[in-house]
Amino acid sequence: MPAEPVTPDALPLPDVQVSAAREARGRRLPYFSLGIVTLFVLVAILAPLLSPADPADQSLRNRFKPPVWMEGGTAKHLLGTDRLGRDMLSRIIWGSRVSLAAGVITVLIATAFGAAMGLVAGYYGGRVDVVLMRVTDATMSFPVILLALILAVTVGPSFTNVVVAIAVILWARFARVIRGQVLTLMGLDFIAQARIAGAGAWRIITRHLFPNTLNTLVVLLTLQIGYVIIVEASLSFLGAGIPPPTPAWGSMIAEGREFVTSAWWVSGLPGLAILLVVLAFNLLGDWLRDTLDPKLRQL
């Protein structure tokens, strides 16, 4: 039997396999976490415009008003009032500023310092690496809360002290991860090739190593913001954080803890705010990691 010539039309179309890279790019954006994070940032920036009342305005007659959907709630205080009759919604809105500022500033300081240390340790190796990594280990073994308490007791609680206390310890995490990445990069030929081309230490670190760690840094940064927000809230809860009357979510939880059974919203709502924001940052970080840097599973 003579073979039929196969026309292109007769050939079945192969199943088009979408490559892994394309799939990752086309993946659904994490709407939930992006939404919460955007909302959080906007609220913090626009706090003076958004808050219905002055967060410090007291009204002892209106103490412990429940949120509007509960019996006895009023539209004047959508999320109720606290022990001193202050508007909860306004306090939560203003409190987001503290959390955002603490999270971002602390993480940026820690990133800058930690990445620099990691790059130097990984690039120079040898004794420099050993010394820096021992310093990192020592730093990581020191509890953040304890350091912040010491600072609060000796120089008094303040926003600056919270940022300093967390950043002074947090940088070590960045240093560790970045150093590990630099070690891998150092084994690659393009670093050797740059040296052969006459590049010095500064040029190799800034132009070749640093840009290759950016993906990791962005992932780590996002994940750590959530962590810092929690630590800041814990410190404020303990009274070692942002001092009153500035509304901070942690201190709001602390103020309401005696009344949890009768007025749960005083502690519960700021707690919910922390939960949502931290969850959103963590989910966003996870998504970034899976998208940018799938090899970074251990973070």
Binding site: D189, F190, Q193, A197, G198, P211
Partner: protein, 324 residues
């Protein structure tokens, strides 16, 4: 003969490890003239790469140390130069192409940015003239549509293409000496041949002195003028390629040549070299090849042989070749 581009005398580079001092390069001397290609062959760990890295002082730190020796580039002594001075020599005077094209370009920059970097560094060019020069370099390594390719990223290119880009960066200066460290090992055979042709062309164009590190004797016979055979950190035999392929003097060279499969040769089995390369941290006294040498003599185990001339331009470090 005129002053050679690179002249190395009695170079010794030692590695200090926890297992002891490894004599990675142990008294190596050679020179390469303008437009000449010296092949450096030997097994893995025989000191080929360490020799070349020593020339630009980029041996692994802090474990390694250049213990002694003289390295002259166009008559200029390199061993006494400071690190800052060496940085000016790297890339500008001595360039090197490494083995793995897949990792020898920075993945986060476009090809254009990477080719422009050395050009701006060496020639101080900026703006349009810089881009034009970069495109000209890509054209020189036979990359089609260089202007478009400048915008490509390394992951969009094949291994052969990337290795060409590395070549383009290496000749940016252009250098006086080009060291090619097994640049074709990970390329397809057809691409290998193309790339070798390209290297030869670049060499002729710029009158480069070239050191070609390889363990592929076929490549040596194709593009090298002279060849140095290394074993355990020493050059055991050196001379013009044809002469060495035809009349190898050192037993190690002979064994190497015998272990190449030949088309049409009526041979049942390939001859292999018995035994293992020596542990460089525990070298036997005397000739390092003695334990594997079929013609070993008592003297070999006691005293290391110096290089004896065996023919015009050919030397062999073997007691068999000692003048009677």
């Amino acid at each position: 003969m005129a002053v050679p581009v690179i002249d190395v005398q009695d170079l010794r580079t030692y590695l200090v490890t926890r297992w002891g001092t490894v004599k990675a390069v142990d008294g190596v001397s050679f020179s390469v003239a303008e437009g000449e290609t010296l092949g450096l062959v030997g097994e893995s760990g025989s000191g080929k790469s360490m020799t070349c890295l020593s020339l630009i002082r980029l041996t692994p730190r802090p474990a390694s140390r250049i213990v002694s020796g003289r390295i002259r580039l166009d008559g200029d002594e390199l061993t006494s130069k400071s690190e800052a001075e060496m940085q000016k020599i790297r890339g500008r005077k001595i360039a090197m192409i490494l083995q793995d094209p897949m990792s020898s370009l920075n993945p986060v920059y476009s090809v254009g940015m990477q080719v422009r970097e050395p050009v701006s560094l060496y020639h101080g060019l900026r703006g349009k003239s810089l881009t034009a020069r970069a495109a000209a370099l890509l054209a020189a390594v036979r990359i089609p549509a260089p202007e478009t390719r400048l915008r490509a990223f390394p992951f969009q290119m094949s291994g052969g293409m990337r290795q060409r880009v590395v070549g383009a960066m290496a000749i940016a200066a252009p250098p006086r000496l080009l060291i090619a460290d097994e640049p074709t090992t990970s390329l397809d055979l057809t691409i290998q041949a193309q790339y070798l042709g390209l290297l030869e062309e670049l060499q002729h164009q710029h009158r480069l002195a070239m050191i070609f590190i390889t363990h592929n004797l076929g490549i040596v016979s194709k593009i090298c003028d002279r060849v140095a055979v290394m074993y355990a950190g020493r050059i055991v035999e050196m001379g013009p390629v044809r002469q060495i392929f035809k009349t190898p003097a050192h037993p190690y060279t002979r064994a190497l040549l015998d272990s190449i499969p030949r088309l049409g040769a009526r041979r049942e089995r390939l001859t292999a070299i018995d035994g293992q390369p020596p542990d460089l941290a525990r070298l036997p006294g005397g000739c390092a090849f003695a334990p594997r040498c079929p013609k070993v003599m008592d003297r070999c185990r006691v005293e290391a042989p110096p290089a004896f001339p065996v023919a015009p331009g050919q030397t062999s470090a073997c007691w068999l070749d000692a003048p009677a």
